[in-house]
Amino acid sequence: MIISICQPYALCAWPFANFCFRRETKKVTTPILDMKGITKRFPNVVANENVDVELYPGEVLALLGENGAGKSTLMNVLAGMYRADAGEIFIRGKRVEIDSPRDAMRLGIGMIHQNFMLVDTMTVAENIILGLPDLPFVPNMVDVNGRIRQLSERYNLQVDPDSRIWQLSVGEQQRVEILKLIYRGAEILILDEPTAVLTPQEAKELNGILQQMTREGKSAIFITHKMEEVIAFSDWVRVLNKGRLVTVKQTNRTNPQELARLMVGRDVLFRLEKKDHDLGDVALELTDVSANNDKGLPALQGISFRIHSGEILGVAGVAGNGQKQLVEILTGLRNVSGGKIRIFNEDKTNKSPLEIINSGVSHIPADRIARGVAGDMSVANNLAMKCYRKPPLVRKGFLHPARILDLARRMIDLFSIDTPTPQTHAKFLSGGNIQKTILAREIDACRGLLIAAYPARGLDVGATEFVRKQMIAQSEAGTAILLVSEDLEELVGVADNIAVLFEGKVMGILPSNKADTEKLGMMMAGVKLEETTA
């Protein structure tokens, strides 16, 4: 059962499974780390509520949870980036106050962030000693290099101290980050989604490094939402959901299905009220499409699906499994490396954004600030940003401000955008109203196909419902919609069919009335649809 799940990691999962019993045989009595009742609030959000963490020397703990479950916040509290509003932290049984990353480091806690904190143009050795508190004015680099070599041999972290960071692969850079922490005497290593940027081979090597470190008595906590990593890397797993600790499990006494269910946190998903309506012709068709990410590594592989007019296809998956690239190839922002994209029966493979817009495609971008609006332009101009090219807004290249204002007033009214005036700059609106502005513009200009990426992310309950109802209304009016979301409730509630992406591949497409959390959770963790029923 388990073997069928972990695709690239399956082979490494079993050899390390026997480490899971190590702690019991060692009989260590004091935990190296004990976090009790940690609560951290942000304006309007409780990121962590009464969370406990316990870690013994030589253990690897996995923190599992969906996006926004509070994993990173919890670890940032431990690493001294945030201060908890309530709760206590004990290191080796002694209560401590951690006010800064420097405090954390002194206590032997080091964190490796998802985006590495290295200086590209400096050498490995220089990066490692950078910021050490007791550094002499001219450091003895021979000694430093010697010590680095000694440590990298001991922990199997091959990296040349004299090479410069920009020359290293991502996997090697991560090793530098680990060395940096070990050099400073870290006993507890925190890794924030360590394999997100790694190739499968590098991920395997990282696992080896972690095991070597735990053999030496160090401990590690890693944040993840990938099931196979939990199984392959960890001794214990703690599952967070919406800021609360849901469960603590010994890794070898649980299974991916159980973890998937706990991670999603709901057994039953509700569907929104939807009228039955007939589907039209195929609006969007992808045939064996593949594409690379910014680093030139494959991000999408062999994607094939079609969406009919009037249909909503949901795309589920944990963030970073190719959703971004999928949206970008469909809107002309990224080229495919293979396959065909047909929109309304015309070849639109690798066409420019303008050509795709002109064929009637609208796009609600995932990052509404970076791509959705121009903050220093008025709401009216933002609303006109898609149809300013065509009459009546423009004639012979000259804009018609009065008509732009008319259009804006109509849309502000229709979508109940809360703005003081149409001339107010968009950046002064709330997130929900910025999203409504984008939605109004894109829906108004849409001629048959809408690509919506996380349209309700970060919105409050009312705005979320508004956005979802608009999606449904548009599909009933005959628009084909591709809805990328990480909210399963939204997908099951809004979409007709759900496709699950995992590592750039479609794990399967199933009708949303046949989707349940366990099936979706397993597909999100890399199990093919036909295997979930086995």
């Binding site: 959705g372 609006v373 903050g375 898609k386 300013y388 423009v394 804009l399 700059h425």
Partner: protein, 360 residues
């Protein structure tokens, strides 16, 4: 007690007018302090400066003479700055415009009907300026080369090239070794309208109005606005960023090039030393103080020109260094930049409560 900056809910319209005005007065006060240190009476000095710039008709036309190239280069700089393309190469674009116009006048005159020489000189000068701005623009959109470096470096290339020409191959053989070309024939002079003030002033005023209209009321202006504001959104909406940067920079260079043409055909009537005296750099201050608004650019250029001319007068009449005008100019920019914060933020004073007494 704590003082914090708080983001305003809406842009303050009042602040947009008050900040430049207030910064002008603050700069006057700062300069007054400086003048007092030099044991000069600030009031007398300021009045002398004002009189020097606006006090008489000849003085005023002299202010207009200085204002014209500032207006044209200021307009050029603002087009580029609207796209967040930091074009500090207006000086070089102006110089190359001057060189190209001189080339037409000096070498094409025998082959052309007289009435055609000046229009052609203007056209070629503008094209040369556009070309000079097009190089960094192309490097930027194709190879992502930083435009601050390339535009700045190309200034020196253009300035030294001009020097080479009027010290070397183009030098007037009858000029007693004076560094400059022979004087242009009189039918190629740009007509003067008052004193030394020439037709370039009319060009600048008309172009400012046209530019305002283009930037605010046309499809192309709208696209520039979106790109300058959020290139990510522009790309998403299918706006061709590279193409727009190219066209905008060609326009920016052409405007600066026109300034150069007007200087050589309207003022010096030859290519000589003194063409590149920093108009292109002052244009950056002009465009910035005008908050990238073409109409405001005209007014600010006039004001800055008044400071320059007034500074010269102060030197002659009071024995103070002429750079006092430049000092005032610099003093003007600092409060302005600091003040622009207040259009988006406001100060708020918060009385601290002993909230964190229990912690620690």
């Amino acid at each position: 007690m704590r003082i914090v900056f708080e983001k305003r809910k809406t842009l303050s319209r009042k602040a947009i007018f008050l900040v430049p005005l207030a910064s002008f007065f603050i700069s006057l006060i700062l300069t007054a302090i400086l003048l007092a240190i030099f044991k000069a009476n600030p009031f007398v000095t300021f009045i002398a400066m004002f009189k020097g710039a606006f006090g008489s008709w000849p003085n005023f036309t002299e202010t207009l003479v200085k204002a014209t190239p500032l207006m044209l280069t200021g307009l050029g700089v603002l087009v580029a700055f609207r796209l967040k393309f930091w074009n500090i190469g207006a000086e070089g674009q102006l110089t190359l415009g001057g060189i190209a116009a001189s080339w037409v006048v000096l070498f094409w005159t025998p082959f052309l009907p007289p009435w055609m020489v000046l229009p052609l000189a203007i056209l070629v000068g503008m094209l040369a300026g556009a070309f000079w701005a097009g190089i960094p623009a192309l490097l930027k959109v194709r190879l992502k080369v930083d435009e601050v470096l390339t535009t700045l470096m190309l200034n020196y290339v253009a300035i030294l090239f001009a020097e080479h020409l009027y010290y070397g191959p183009w030098r007037d053989p009858k000029g007693f070794g004076f560094p400059g070309t022979p004087q242009f024939p009189d039918f190629t002079w740009l007509p003067r309208i008052a004193g030394r003030a020439h037709l370039g002033l009319i060009f600048a005023l008309v172009l400012a109005l046209v530019l305002w209209f283009v930037l605010n009321r046309t499809r192309w202006g709208f696209e520039l606005q979106v790109i300058g504001n959020n290139p990510g959104a522009a790309q998403t909406q299918g706006i061709h960023i590279a193409k727009n940067i190219m066209t905008a920079l060609l326009l920016a260079g052409a405007l600066a090039g026109l300034a150069g043409v007007c200087e050589v055909t309207g003022i010096s009537r030859r290519l000589q030393q003194g063409l590149s005296i920093g108009y292109g750099y002052t244009a950056i201050i002009v465009a910035w103080l005008a908050q990238l608004n073409p109409i405001a650019t005209i007014i600010v250029a006039l004001l800055i020109a008044a400071l320059l001319v007034g500074g010269d007068q102060v030197q002659m009449m009071m024995g103070l260094p002429a750079s006092m005008g430049l000092v005032l100019q610099g003093m003007l920019l600092f409060p302005m930049l600091a003040g622009s914060l207040f259009t988006e933020y406001r100060l708020r004073i918060i009385k601290t409560k002993l909230r964190d007494a229990q912690s620690g």
